[in-house]
């Protein structure tokens, strides 16, 4: 409540500042005038002459010149009388009384957040756990690490959180610190590379690639690093190398590896033939089932998805998932049919269509 009181006082002050001069009678000849300046210049010349700074002759010449200006200015001043325009003054007063508060409030309404209370450090200290959001926890950990930079475990905890928060550059530094203070291992190198790639917006930069290579050098079976090396090859346009890298991964991978679907999908994207057929839905659970159940379940899920999309055709992500599932299942006809269905369902909504086309392009389907 007091906030609105403060606003009211400030508004009143502002309005008063506009209205106050309007209510006053005007005295003629108010304010300064040029003549004052010239009179002062004359006095100045006298002073300079008395101090011997200029010669009497020069002084006389200057006096004549300034005198001429003085006379001209004096004439001009008497020629302009002042008037009082009551109508205009009243209009201005109305603008100030109504327009100013209205304008201020409407702008403030759009920009301000009057409902939010203050949150200074002092009041926070009284109730420390009041709003311990993730950001706050991270900040606490960071503050701790700032003082103890060699705490490798702290960095180890912080790094994945920073990745989740999207603070990739900080994550890169955090992982670097893990390596510096906690020792160099393959998975840490791979994490570092991943963070670098994330910081570059998903592009496996030269720098990131070096990290993955180091990781693989330390442990040839480092999965993440091998996956990203394939990705780097793909981004460089060497699709065959990428496919080879990923195929090699799949060849040696245990059947129940949770990363299988990802690598398979990537492989499908670069045009390599899939080795096994596992859709990307809840892979681990499916993996645990006996063979017969598994394919039946996959079929059921795909059908369920297809059925749902018949009801609600505007779910572009769903369509893409369906197309990919058919592709992974090796059913080219059905996947083509699904693309056609998706096109129809999306209709002429340009936004969705673009989204769909982008997604299809990513899946490697280009028409």
């Amino acid at each position: 409540m007091s906030l609105w009181f403060v606003f009211a006082v400030m508004t009143a002050a502002a309005v008063f500042a506009v209205i106050w001069p309007l209510g006053r009678r005007t005295a003629p000849g108010q304010g300064g005038a040029e003549t004052v300046v010239y009179k002062d210049q004359l006095a100045e010349i006298d002073r300079d002459r008395d101090a011997g700074l200029i010669q009497p002759a020069e002084a006389a010449a200057a006096r004549v010149e300034i005198g001429r200006r003085l006379i001209a200015a004096a004439e001009a001043e008497t020629a302009t009388p002042s008037v009082t325009r009551r109508g205009v003054r009243r209009a201005v007063a109305v603008v100030a009384l109504i327009g100013l508060p209205l304008l201020a409030l409407s702008i403030y309404w759009n920009l301000g957040s009057p409902q939010l209370p203050d949150f200074p450090l002092a009041s926070r200290a009284l109730s420390p756990a009041a709003s311990a959001s993730l950001d706050a926890l991270v900040a606490q950990v960071e503050a701790h690490l700032e003082k103890n930079p060699s705490d490798a475990r702290g960095w180890q905890v912080l790094a994945p959180v920073l990745m989740k928060l999207g603070r990739y550059d900080d994550a890169v530094r955090a992982v670097r610190n893990v390596i510096t203070y906690g020792g160099d291992t393959a998975d840490r190198r791979a994490d570092l590379g991943e963070a670098m790639a994330a910081a570059a917006g998903g592009v496996v930069t030269k720098e990131a690639k070096d990290e993955f290579e180091r990781a693989v050098a330390l442990d040839a079976g480092e999965v993440k690093a091998r996956y990203f090396l394939g990705l780097a090859a793909e981004q460089d346009g060497r699709k065959a190398d990428a496919a080879a890298a990923w195929r090699a991964m799949l060849a040696t991978a245990p059947a129940d590896a949770p990363w299988r679907p990802l690598v398979e999908a990537s492989l499908a994207r670069v045009g390599g033939p899939p080795i096994a057929a596992v859709p990307d839905t809840d892979a681990a659970a499916v993996e645990a089932m006996p063979d017969g159940d598994r394919s039946a379940m996959i079929q059921r899920m795909v059908e369920r998805l297809a059925g749902r999309l018949k009801q609600d055709g505007r779910d572009v992500a769903g369509w893409l998932r369906l197309v990919r599932a058919y592709m992974v299942l090796g059913d080219a006809d059905k996947s083509r049919a699904a693309v056609a269905d998706a096109r129809r369902a999306v209709g002429d909504d340009q936004g969705l269509l673009r989204q769909l086309n982008d997604g299809l392009k990513e899946l490697g389907i280009v028409e």
Binding site: M163, G166, A197, A198, A200, G201, G202, D210, F228, L262
Partner: protein
């Protein structure tokens, strides 16, 4: 002197000074400016040995070799072409392998870029604009400078990276 003559004197003086200034500027623009080039541009255009230019790119990781008396050699690359650089002196604080760098100098007869200046960077996030643009064009861009654009770039990265790119696009 009449009023007209006085005015002519003034105008003449002004024109003379302006002419001198224009001549100086044109002359300086011919001789004293330095073009910026990436290794690719340098190799494509066959910049003559001895002609000064600024070379920008990334320091190729693993290429920095320090010799005696502060001599140092490293490769500057933009992903496509690489140019060896020789420099003697103190490197700026933020000179690092894999980071952007701008050097000034000329190519010598043997094809080595003899740098006499390696530009200092103000802080971690400062990437010389020319380098950033050039690297972006070559697709080997790495720096938080590009954070804003990076959300829009296609990524074929892992699920976590793809998700985080989306988050970045929305969050920043």
């Amino acid at each position: 002197m009449t009023r007209k003559q006085r005015r002519l004197t003034m105008i003449g003086g002004a024109i003379a000074v302006l002419a001198v200034a224009a001549a100086l500027v044109l002359n300086a623009l011919r001789d004293s400016i330095v073009f910026f080039s990436t290794p690719t541009m340098a190799t494509e255009k066959h910049i003559a040995p001895g002609r000064r230019f600024r070379l920008g790119g990334m320091v190729r990781p693993g290429s920095v070799v320090r010799g005696d008396r502060l001599a140092v050699t490293f490769d500057v690359t933009d992903g496509n072409a690489t140019l060896p650089v020789a420099y003697q002196g103190m490197l700026p604080d933020l000179f690092r392998e894999g980071q952007g760098v701008v050097t000034e100098g000329a190519i010598d007869q043997s094809g080595v870029f003899r740098a006499d200046t390696v530009l200092a960077k103000h802080d971690e996030t400062y990437m010389p604009k020319e380098v950033a643009d050039a690297l972006k064009k070559e697709g080997h861009w790495k720096d938080d400078y590009g954070a804003k654009e990076s959300g829009a770039r296609e990524s074929g990265a892992s699920e976590s990276v793809a998700r985080s790119v989306a988050a970045q696009g929305a969050g920043r």
